[in-house]
């Protein structure tokens, strides 16, 4: 079992690393911002890290968590469908397009969200959504063509 010389799989593997790093970065960054804001919802952290206890996160933490939620909501379906595409024998050329456009758009979306950059954030969301839709349609096409 070794697909590491299979072009579409290699494209998927690189994409998976890049998108998982996006998710991991946003989650770790929410922790860093929380630490700097000295605000926590956990009583056991308030005493330990001399943070203020707050049921509602301050705006700068809430923003990172919204960026993470947005990333998770789009990246997880993309990774699931991307693997189905590869295992269904999808052509590497189209994969490279979908994967590259989506990954670049999602990283830019995170950067735009964290920096309050509009309309860039909405543009990136729409571009990534179009890549995701194209992937859905191509997977359906692969299934119909093989059926």
């Amino acid at each position: 079992m070794n697909l590491s010389n299979h072009p579409a799989f290699v494209a998927y593997a690189i994409t998976c690393v890049a998108l998982c790093c996006n998710l991991i970065f946003l989650w770790a960054y929410s922790g860093a911002v929380r630490s700097k804001a000295e605000s926590t919802p956990n009583p056991e952290d308030a005493s330990r890290f001399s943070s203020r206890l707050a049921d509602v996160d301050p705006p700068e933490i809430a923003r990172v968590l919204r960026a993470h939620a947005n990333a998770q909501a789009t990246i997880v379906p993309f990774l699931a469908l991307g693997l189905v595409y590869v295992l269904a024998g999808g052509p590497p050329g189209a994969a490279a397009w979908y994967f590259t456009v989506f990954t670049v758009a999602r990283w830019l979306h995170s950067w735009a969200y964290l920096g309050s950059r509009q309309p860039l954030r909405t543009v990136c969301f729409v571009v990534a959504a179009i890549s995701l839709l194209a992937l859905v349609l191509h997977v359906l096409w692969l299934l119909i063509a093989a059926g």
Copy 2:
């Protein structure tokens, strides 16, 4: 590498498309409801889209986000375990049952959640949870039988 003539994989691929569309629909719908409610947690959107700035989402947006969180919490483990089932050589007949029941129950759950339909929402959650549990047990059984 082409599993598109492998019955259990085809069942998984169709399921993956249907469940990812469920997740994508709920996320897109939360955006549509937000747009109609003209409420946003982002200052940069309030000025741009003439929306009110609100730290806490109004009830109609919060409901869609809860439906999405519920979908994500159940669909993501199902898709991970479903692929393991297929790659472990799980029989296509049982797969068709687990996958169909889960997918129908989850789409109905979303419809019931968005429309405040009880007890349908709870019934769908339980039916989907039973399919998920059956899949977990079948994957364990495949591993034990092969070991």
Copy 3:
């Protein structure tokens, strides 16, 4: 298509079951705590289950949901990258280390979070994060070595 005699895949399959059970347990437990706290954000549940309607979850429910969010944010990338590792022909020996350390650390993290146990919670988060980082680097190494 049957990888159930492939050691790295078997390690992944067991890990996938253990981590999905962690996610499913936390989600189900949030429901159990909600039921005991008799608090719900849904008007249709308040009338049906004689619960109080509350826009903001009480602290004991919010804690379980934070533990779940933390689990989801780390487990989902780990499962995606773990499968890429296996399909890229990653050695089973290293897989066993990454998978075991991450899975034990994440289950302990959930236990520590639910019971307000510090510094155990932070230690488990960091140990799991190191396993995740090691997996990312190994996947990159496999891709470079094959390229």
